[in-house]
């Protein structure tokens, strides 16, 4: 078994192939990164003590250059390899002239080492070194790390984490690779924020026009205009400025994973982007999804999945032939990241063209009537209602009779104001949805309802209470918030849980955008129809437009934790809150399944 581990580790190192293997990187020689050129791809760091240095420099991606922030001189920064059951000390030195930080996304640890300035710790000042003293790790799997200061994450301040299991890994493979998806832009992130605030649809060059090919009738177009919204509003920042990256490399820069035909390849896919949902597929190849957000799931065979910002999926693929292309297409189909599974260096398969951009539908407006079993159908005129009719075919509907912003549907703790431009009329559970634009593809696409935990969960208590959190926004003003209140309004009023309290949380999306919602320091269980003991554990959940998603949370990590939309500019606009878990005090621990 140990031989196997060694072999797997060696293979993982090979993931950096094409990086131009520098024997001694600049940061290791103590060189100043100022003015230096940042490398693509990552090295690996491991052991009891790990040192990371945050610096800045220039970046060149497919001929486009820009200023960037890099850790240990590369983007992505080094793969931090840890081991379950072992503690680690990570010393992070900040050589920037502004504050910085590292958040360990998905790791269970004491809150003061979670890495969010203003919540967990004061941040790392210029020139300072902060030591994250992390006790024995309580988990294994695929995670990632990134800055939680300013908008540094967009500039390149992120990298992968792999925690090796203490026991044998139930997922066995011949090759073990990391595929970290992200974006490059020559624009400063503050410029992007500024443009989003000022210019509605600034980055969207796929808008409806007199000359577009969208299957929209004149009536549909009038309806969207009447709502003052755009059917093409899929992603806020697009391929018009982003070059999509696979391990830091643009689609033409040849990211390559070697395999020998007949081998099983594990790909640890991390969405480390700032603003992009990706549709990931290997055209013509079926693969198994074996882990979500670092937690093993029963293998699900699919041909494609959508990965929200900050999510991770591990897949197992058995590539055949000389080469297979891995395509990570941005959800709005304005660009893609590309990598190749290659049986020999330089082998390539064809890269498919971008598919047609998707449009928002009735369901994304919160008007999907869904399953109405038990209702008195006799009194309804389905044709007039547009039952199950997508937006492009709903010209029969009288939009004049629809109120897209009926604030009386909102619970009283939601603050109604300029920050809410829409209220979902019927926020159905959409965890069975494959994601925007993937409902009509002719192959199996992963949904949250396919995820079943591999091992039973250890807290089978029924939640003692349920709470509802509304995701709210105003596209025209680019305001984003929870319950209509930006973080500025609730920074002294966190969401509170008692220690070990088990709560069912329903997230209702009153916007037409999908939001990946992340809770720090915990895993929650998706209430996705899986048996109670097998609800899959995640740290980030996508809430589909106009719909809802529900999770069960055992609040057993005391302290203050960030809770936010992981779309960077949504968070920066106010879609952020603090979750406070009360100290354990003298409360008895809860009897967990499997404990004596």
């Amino acid at each position: 078994m140990s031989d196997l581990m060694l072999s797997r580790r060696r293979m993982l190192g090979a993931g950096a192939l094409g990086a131009g293997a520098l024997a001694m990187p600049a940061w290791a020689r103590g060189a100043d990164l100022h003015g230096g050129m940042i490398r693509h791809g990552f090295d690996e760091v491991s052991g009891r003590d790990i040192a990371l240095t945050i610096g800045e420099g220039h970046r060149l991606v497919q001929g486009r250059s820009g200023h960037a922030v890099a850790v240990n001189g590369s983007i992505p920064g080094p793969l931090v390899r840890l081991r379950e059951g072992e503690p680690v000390r990570i010393a992070v030195t900040n050589t920037l002239d502004e504050d910085s930080s590292i958040h360990w996304h998905g790791l269970l640890l004491p809150f003061q080492y979670d890495g969010v300035p203003g919540i967990s710790f004061p941040g790392i000042r210029p020139g300072e070194t902060f030591v994250y003293d992390i006790p024995a790790l309580r988990q294994s799997g695929t995670y990632w790390w990134h800055s939680h200061s300013g908008l540094q994450e967009q500039s390149g301040h992120y990298g992968p984490i792999v925690v090796e299991p203490a026991a044998a890994d139930p997922v066995q493979a011949d090759r073990d690779y990391v595929l970290l998806l992200s974006e490059f832009t020559p624009l400063h992130p503050h410029t992007i924020m500024d443009k989003l605030k000022k210019g509605e649809g600034y980055f969207n060059y796929q808008q409806t026009s007199w000359t577009d090919d969208y299957p929209l009738s004149a009536e549909d177009r009038r309806m969207w205009g009447h709502m003052r919204m755009m059917a093409t509003d899929i992603l806020d920042v697009t391929g018009s400025t982003y070059t999509y990256l696979a391990n830091g490399r643009g689609p033409e820069e040849g990211m390559e994973y070697l395999f020998t035909p007949g081998e099983r390849v594990r790909l640890r896919i991390i969405n480390g982007s700032a603003m992009t949902f990706f549709n990931v597929r290997i055209p013509g190849v079926k693969f198994w999804v074996v882990a979500a957000d670092g937690q093993n799931v029963r293998p699900v065979e699919v041909e494609e999945f959508q990965i929200g910002t900050a999510e991770t999926y591990d897949i197992i693929v058995e590539p055949t032939g000389e080469a297979q292309t891995i395509v990570a297409e941005s959800m709005d189909r304005s660009g893609m990241a590309v990598a190749t599974l290659a049986s020999r260096p330089g082998a390539r398969a064809s890269v498919p063209a971008l598919r047609d951009p998707p449009l928002l539908t009735m369901a994304d407006m919160g008007m999907n009537h869904g399953d109405m079993a038990g209702m008195d159908h006799s009194a309804m005129d389905h044709a007039a209602m547009g039952h199950d009719v997508p937006a492009e075919e709903m010209s029969d509907m009288d939009m004049g009779g629809m109120n897209m912003r009926d604030t009386s549907l909102l619970p009283p703790d939601v603050k109604v104001g300029p920050g809410i431009d829409m209220v979902s009329m019927n926020p159905l559970d959409r965890m069975g949805d494959p994601g925007l634009g993937l409902d009509k593809v002719p192959h199996k696409v992963l949904t949250y309802k396919d995820l079943v935990a591999l091992v039973p969960n250890d807290d089978l208590r029924r939640p003692s209470r349920q709470m509802e959190i509304h995701l709210t926004g105003s596209m025209e003003r680019y305001m984003w918030s929870f319950d209509g209140k930006k973080f500025t309004a609730v920074s002294d009023d966190p969401i509170r849980f008692a220690y070990n309290e088990r709560v069912r949380v329903k997230l209702v999306n009153d916007t037409m955008m999908a939001h990946p919602i992340h809770l720090h320091g915990h895993f929650f269980e998706l209430v996705n129809g899986a048996p109670a003991d097998r609800q899959p554990q995640k740290h980030t959940v996508i809430v589909q437009p106009g719909g809802s998603a529900t999770f069960d949370l055992t609040a057993d990590e005391e302290g203050d934790w960030a809770f936010h939309c992981h779309l960077l500019y949504h968070m920066h606009s106010g879609m952020f809150q603090i979750v406070t878990v009360a100290p354990r005090g003298s409360e008895p621990d809860v009897q967990r399944v499997g404990e004596d």
Binding site: D3, H226, N426, R534, T580
Partner: protein, 334 residues
């Protein structure tokens, strides 16, 4: 090696008890997150039917808290569909508030945390934005002497409250400006699409006038950009101006913009050549090409009319009452 390398498909190791109810063919129990009743009510509301609040008693927190369960008619509930009693939407228990207000203060010290906490608020919704736009900066070719026009605006502030600045004016080359004004306004968001604006307008040409301004600016249904304001002058005269623009994308960068402006007056203002009622109208059409969103040259045509009393004043002064302008200009913002 090969045997070891074969992936141990997890299902094979799954305990039998867990597989009993894992059958994928079985329809999953309806999640409690939204009961059938709630779904039904929501669907009815979506269709415009009036359904009173609290029609689904078990999940409505207010009713639930003080509810006497003994008087509920359980026979009407379909427990098999719901799985079990619904989870109550109650406030957090007292123990949830038992901790310190700021957990990190105890570890790093309140003083050390203060700066970063302030930065956190600033960086998550507390930003201010500075915007300047030249909506129309144009050369106006017409019969007789050609002219010029500027129409610029900008703001500085947060999402809800802003300082808004506007200036517009026009004239004929080689002559003194016909009109020039500047406005300083407090702008307050009153909904997702509209701001209420109030402040001062100062005219810089002709008889000196200062006005109090009250108006609304924003995005109307069908994406019309609307700016409507009433002006009360220091002489007691009340006038108003309504402007509307609509961007029609021909391609992603070529945009046709119809524009209309109407000026109204509550009374004759002979000094300014304004007659009561609808005093003037402008209809324009501008075709711009966005080399960048921020920079777009345009060409266009605009027709101006003086109407009613204003037209009479113009004739008396020997001026035309209608003018056609052929336009070339730039639109920019930053």
């Amino acid at each position: 090696m090969r045997v070891l390398a074969v992936m141990l498909l997890a299902s094979a190791t799954t305990p039998a008890f867990a597989q009993d109810h894992s059958g994928h063919s079985m329809p999953p129990a309806k999640p409690d997150a939204q009961t059938e009743c709630e779904q039904e009510v929501a669907a009815h509301r979506a269709m415009g039917h009036a359904v009173p609040k609290g029609s689904c008693p078990p999940d409505t927190p207010a009713e639930h808290m003080g509810m006497d369960h003994s008087q509920m008619d359980h026979s009407q509930m379909d427990h098999s569909a719901m799985g079990a009693a619904p989870i109550p939407q109650t406030p957090p228990p007292a123990a949830a508030g038992s901790g310190p207000a700021r957990a990190a203060d105890a570890i790093w010290g309140a003083e050390a945390m203060r700066t970063s906490r302030e930065a956190l608020v600033r960086e998550n919704g507390g930003m201010n934005v500075l915007w300047l736009q030249g909506d129309r900066l144009e050369y106006r070719a017409r019969e007789g002497h050609d002219g010029y026009l500027w129409d610029v605006q900008g703001y500085y502030g947060g999402d809800i409250d802003k300082f808004w600045f506007k200036s517009e004016g026009e004239g004929t080359f080689g002559e003194e400006a016909e009109s020039a004004e500047i406005q300083g306004l407090w702008s307050h968001a009153i909904g997702p699409w509209f701001d209420l604006q109030t402040g001062i307008r100062q005219d810089l040409t002709g008889p000196e006038r200062t006005y109090a301004v009250l108006g609304v600016q924003g995005l109307a249904p069908y994406l019309f950009e609307v700016d409507a304001a009433a002006f009360l002058s220091n002489k007691g005269d009340l006038t108003a101006r309504v402007e509307a623009e609509l961007d029609q994308r021909i391609t992603q960068r070529l945009i046709l913009q119809p524009r209309a402006e109407a000026n109204l007056s509550a009374q004759d203002v002979p000094e300014l050549g304004i007659g009561a009622g609808l005093s003037s109208m402008e209809l324009g059409l501008r075709l711009r090409y966005e080399f960048a969103r921020e920079f777009a040259p345009y060409v266009g045509v605009e027709q101006e009319w003086k109407l009613g009393g204003s037209a009479d004043y113009a004739r008396l002064a020997g001026e035309q009452t209608g003018v056609t302008n052929y336009l070339a200009g730039i639109r920019f913002w930053f």
